[in-house]
Structures are given as structure tokens and as C-alpha cells.
């Protein structure tokens, strides 16, 4: 009885923090991609690009609300995790929010990139899932990172979720210092920069 309970507790403590990243990833990538493609389908975008609104403003305007949504989601999961599943917060919580902000930015930009490829909402959803599954499977959420074959580890290195999970587990479970987290935070920053650059270069105020 006691061992089963502690097993459950430790599983929850492993899984709930990682859920922050998974849930953020699912909502940020798929929601942005779909919401932008829907605007294109409905013709809203065609109207918007005839106004003096700049591409940059359009992009920021589309993404800003989701940043807020993402931070609220993060907070909700943290509150539920500590209240219901006894997830500890051993480190500095602001470090987690720094990581979350970078991760949200990177995933939103990915969603934006997807929206520039997809013609319909259905395609956007498919592309969203296409990026989501490897992230969930390889980021250390389901399987321990060190136990994975080498090639899978390389792929995992190229996924922002892997590094965000490092930050989350570091802050919550290990109480890691900022110095420990710097490599992961830098990698997240790199993802953010690359994704925003690709998104900005593809998201232009032209129809063709």
C-alpha cells in the first residue's frame, strides 16, 4: 500500500512538471497555426494586408494573446501540480517562467511557420501533429533520455521541448541554480531566434 502510494507520487512528480511543456507545445503550435490559416481561409488576411498594418505588427498582434494564454496555462499546471500531486518547487520559480517565455515564443513561431505552409485548417492540424509526436516521444517525457538510442538523442537535441523539460525538472525537482540551467536556456533562445527568423521571412504581406 505504502509502496504503491509512493510509486504513484513519484510518477506524478515526474510527469506533471513535464506536462507543462507538452500542453504548451500542443496548444501553442496547433492553435496559432490554425487560427492564422482560418483567417486566410475566411479572407480576413487579404483585407488586413491592404491596410497600412505592417507584417511585424500583424505577427506580434497575432502572437501576443497566446503568450498570455501560455503563461496562464503554465501557472494553472503549477498550481494544480503542487496542490493535488505534491509536486515540489525546489528552485526559483522565475527561472521557470523565463524558460517558459522562451519556449512559448519558439513554439508560437513554429506555429507561424506551419501557417505559412498550410493552405487549409486541416493541413495546419496535420502539420501540427507531425511536429508534436516526435517532441512528445523523444523529449524525455515518456522515456528517459539517457536510455534512448544515439540517433534518437540527436533528434531530441533538435527539439525545443527537450530543453524546456530540462529547465522545468531542474527548477522544480532539483532546485538547480541558474548556472546549471544556462545551457538549456541558451538553446531555447537559439530556437526562438531561428524560428522567429524563418517565420518573419516567410510571413510577408503578399498573396503570392
Amino acid at each position: 500500500m505504502a509502496s504503491s502510494r509512493s510509486w504513484r507520487a513519484s510518477t506524478a512528480v515526474q510527469i506533471v512538471p513535464a506536462l507543462i511543456g507538452v500542453i504548451l507545445f500542443m496548444t501553442m503550435v496547433v492553435f496559432t497555426a490554425i487560427s492564422l490559416v482560418r483567417e486566410r481561409e475566411r479572407g480576413n488576411l487579404e483585407l488586413l494586408i491592404t491596410t497600412p498594418v505592417r507584417s511585424f505588427e500583424l505577427m506580434v498582434g497575432k502572437l501576443a494573446p497566446y503568450v498570455l494564454v501560455g503563461l496562464i496555462q503554465t501557472t494553472l499546471i503549477l498550481v494544480m501540480g503542487t496542490l493535488l500531486f505534491d509536486v515540489p518547487i525546489n528552485g526559483h520559480i522565475w527561472q521557470l517562467y523565463v524558460g517558459a517565455s522562451l519556449f512559448i515564443g519558439a513554439t508560437l513561431a513554429m506555429g507561424l511557420v506551419i501557417s505559412t505552409f498550410a493552405q487549409t485548417q486541416f493541413q495546419a492540424m496535420q502539420l501540427g501533429f507531425f511536429t508534436m509526436l516526435p517532441s512528445i516521444l523523444l523529449s524525455g517525457f515518456l522515456f528517459p533520455f539517457d536510455g534512448m538510442p544515439r540517433p534518437a538523442q540527436w533528434i531530441a537535441q533538435a527539439l525545443p521541448l527537450t530543453h524546456f523539460n530540462t529547465v522545468v525538472r531542474g527548477v522544480l525537482l532539483r532546485g538547480a541554480e541558474l548556472g546549471d540551467l544556462t545551457p538549456a536556456l541558451l538553446k531555447l533562445t537559439a530556437f526562438l531566434v531561428v524560428a522567429v527568423t524563418i517565420a518573419a521571412s516567410r510571413f510577408r504581406k503578399r498573396l503570392g
Partner: protein, 329 residues
């Protein structure tokens, strides 16, 4: 372009809103717009008449800098397009073919958002939203969701939004395709009011009666301008003769005349038949009458004035070698 239009041109009486030269756009191997050259005078209502796929929308999109031309040049309100498209954007209003405001915003919210998008300052924004709601009878619909309105109401909202920033030029892409006849009449009243206040309007349509209301008109077919001029002038200059046939056996008359040499086209209007005959024919009505008498069909045959539909049919007729006919107008 500079060489072709020396500086003196700017001081001539004709003030041009749009000058297009050899405008061409390809989508892959498809030629959507093929060397379109035309001038649009300021404060005129200029019509694009053509079937679906004739290149109307593509041309309009190139005029407002939404699409890059494959070749050719456009000057819009004194700006090179698309290079200076951003400067042009504050001076134009664009109404898309499909209703493209937000269904889940109210009339007022849509207008307020568009005012912000056009960076109207607060005081002006308030004044203009009030003015367009008055002009387009939207006041009592102010709190209604755009998604819950009828075709005519949405179209009024779309025009209100497009004129919010008092643009010098309006581009309307098939604005009346989803509205009832009464709304269409009201809509055109609004357009005339706008033009009389100096707004240049480019409107595309596939309705003949709407095309006839324009000051000037270009007929597009397969990406080319096949006829251009004032509607009256186009009807007068039609390079074919029009013969009207009234007969009870209208179907048989039609069959008899089909394929007769020098008869270029037949179009039925209820119990009447419009027969287009080569201009070279001395007595076009006689030719048709003889043909029908030979077949024993009792018919009233008379030469008549061309209407816009005849012009359209003639302009889009294909020559035997498959080339669309270039109008002499």
C-alpha cells in the same frame, strides 16, 4: 515610362488615378493577366466586365500591390506599385470579393478595428465611424455580430469599412455578387455619391446592367482587355450589326440561323433573339429575314441598336483560328 510620358503630361487636364502598362501575371504556366494596359481617370467609376477567371481579381490585386506582376508597370495615385505599395495603402480602400471582416465582431467593433488598422487618430476615428454608420444605415445594427447579418447588410458594412479613412480610390472586387436587387441599387447610389465627391472607383462585375452604369469600362477575357471605352461608345462602335428576331418558334429560328455564313453569334432574350452579323453585310436584317422565310418561320426581323451584352459577346468571340477577337472600339 518616363520617356513615354514627358513631364508636360502631368499638367494636362486628364488626371489619372491608375496607369497600367503591359501588366502581366503568370501563375506557373498559366497566363492569368496578359499585357493589360489602361488608364483610369480620377473621380470616375471604372468597370471591369468579364467572366470568372478572366483576370479581373488578379489585375485588381496587382493594382493595389498585393501581387507582384510578372512584367509590366503600374502607377497608382502617383506611386510606383508594388515598390511604393505601402504609401499607396493609406490612400486606397479595398473590398474583397468575399466578405472578409470578422464574423465574430459586431458592426461597431469591426469599424473600430479597421479605423485602428488605418491609424486614424482618436478624434477622427470617432467622427468617421459615426459618419459611415449614418451614410450606410448601420446605426441600428451597431451591436449586431457581422456573422448574423444578411448579404446586403454585410456589404454595406464592408463598404463602410473600406471608406472609413476617406480613400482617394476604391477597389471593389465583385461587390454585389451576394446581394439582392434592391441592395444593389442602393449600393450603386452610394458609389455615385462617392464618385461625385472625387473618389475614383474601380469595380469588377459580371452584371451587364452594372457595367452599363460605369463611366468607362474594360471587357476582360482570358486575361486580356478585349474592349475598352465608355459603355455608350462601345455600343456605338460595335464592329458587328445587330438584328433582333421576334418569333413564336424561337427555338427553330435559332437552329435555322445557326451556322449561317456571316452570322457570328446568337443570343436569346426571352422570346427575342439577338443575331450578330458581320459589319460588311449590306442588309443584315434582309439576310436574316430571307433565311427565316426559306425555312417558313413567321418572324419579325429588324436591325437594332447594340446593347452591352452584344458588345460583350462580340468582344469575347473567338476567331476560327482560336484567337480571341480584338475589338476595334
Amino acid at each position: 515610362m518616363r520617356a513615354k510620358w514627358p513631364a508636360t503630361r502631368a499638367t494636362t487636364v486628364v488626371d489619372l488615378a491608375i496607369q497600367a502598362q503591359g501588366l502581366t501575371r503568370k501563375f506557373g504556366s498559366v497566363l492569368a493577366v496578359d499585357h493589360v494596359s489602361l488608364d483610369i481617370e480620377r473621380a470616375h467609376i471604372y468597370g471591369f466586365l468579364g467572366p470568372n477567371g478572366s483576370g479581373k481579381s488578379t489585375t485588381i490585386r496587382m493594382f493595389c500591390g498585393l501581387l507582384q506582376p510578372t512584367s509590366g508597370t503600374v502607377r497608382g495615385l502617383g506611386h510606383d506599385v508594388p515598390r511604393e505599395a505601402e504609401a499607396l495603402r493609406t490612400k486606397i480602400g479595398y473590398m474583397t470579393q468575399k466578405f472578409s471582416l470578422w464574423d465574430d465582431l459586431t458592426v461597431f467593433e469591426n469599424l473600430r478595428f479597421m479605423a485602428q488598422a488605418f491609424t486614424l487618430e482618436k478624434h477622427r476615428s470617432k467622427r468617421r465611424i459615426g459618419a459611415v454608420m449614418e451614410e450606410f444605415h448601420l446605426r441600428e445594427l451597431s451591436g449586431r455580430l457581422a456573422g448574423a447579418m444578411s448579404g446586403g447588410q454585410r456589404q454595406r458594412l464592408a463598404l463602410a469599412a473600406a471608406t472609413l479613412h476617406e480613400p482617394e480610390m476604391l477597389f471593389l472586387d465583385e461587390p454585389t455578387s451576394a446581394v439582392d436587387p434592391q441592395s444593389r441599387r442602393d449600393f450603386w447610389e452610394s458609389l455615385f455619391a462617392l464618385a461625385s465627391r472625387g473618389t475614383t472607383i474601380l469595380v469588377s462585375t459580371h452584371y451587364m446592367d452594372e457595367a452599363e452604369r460605369c463611366h468607362r469600362l474594360a471587357i476582360l477575357s482570358e486575361g486580356r482587355v478585349v474592349a475598352e471605352g465608355a459603355p455608350e461608345q462601345l455600343m456605338d462602335d460595335l464592329p458587328l450589326r445587330v438584328v433582333e428576331v421576334q418569333a413564336r418558334e424561337i427555338d427553330r429560328a435559332r437552329q435555322e440561323l445557326h451556322g449561317v455564313p456571316r452570322v457570328r453569334s446568337l443570343a436569346q432574350l426571352g422570346l427575342r433573339l439577338h443575331v450578330l452579323v458581320d459589319r460588311g453585310t449590306e442588309d443584315a436584317a434582309g439576310l436574316v429575314r430571307d433565311q427565316l422565310e426559306k425555312a417558313g418561320i413567321d418572324a419579325r426581323v429588324q436591325a437594332t441598336r447594340a446593347n452591352l451584352e452584344d458588345v460583350f459577346v462580340a468582344a469575347t468571340l473567338r476567331e476560327p483560328d482560336g484567337q480571341a477577337r480584338r475589338s476595334a472600339a
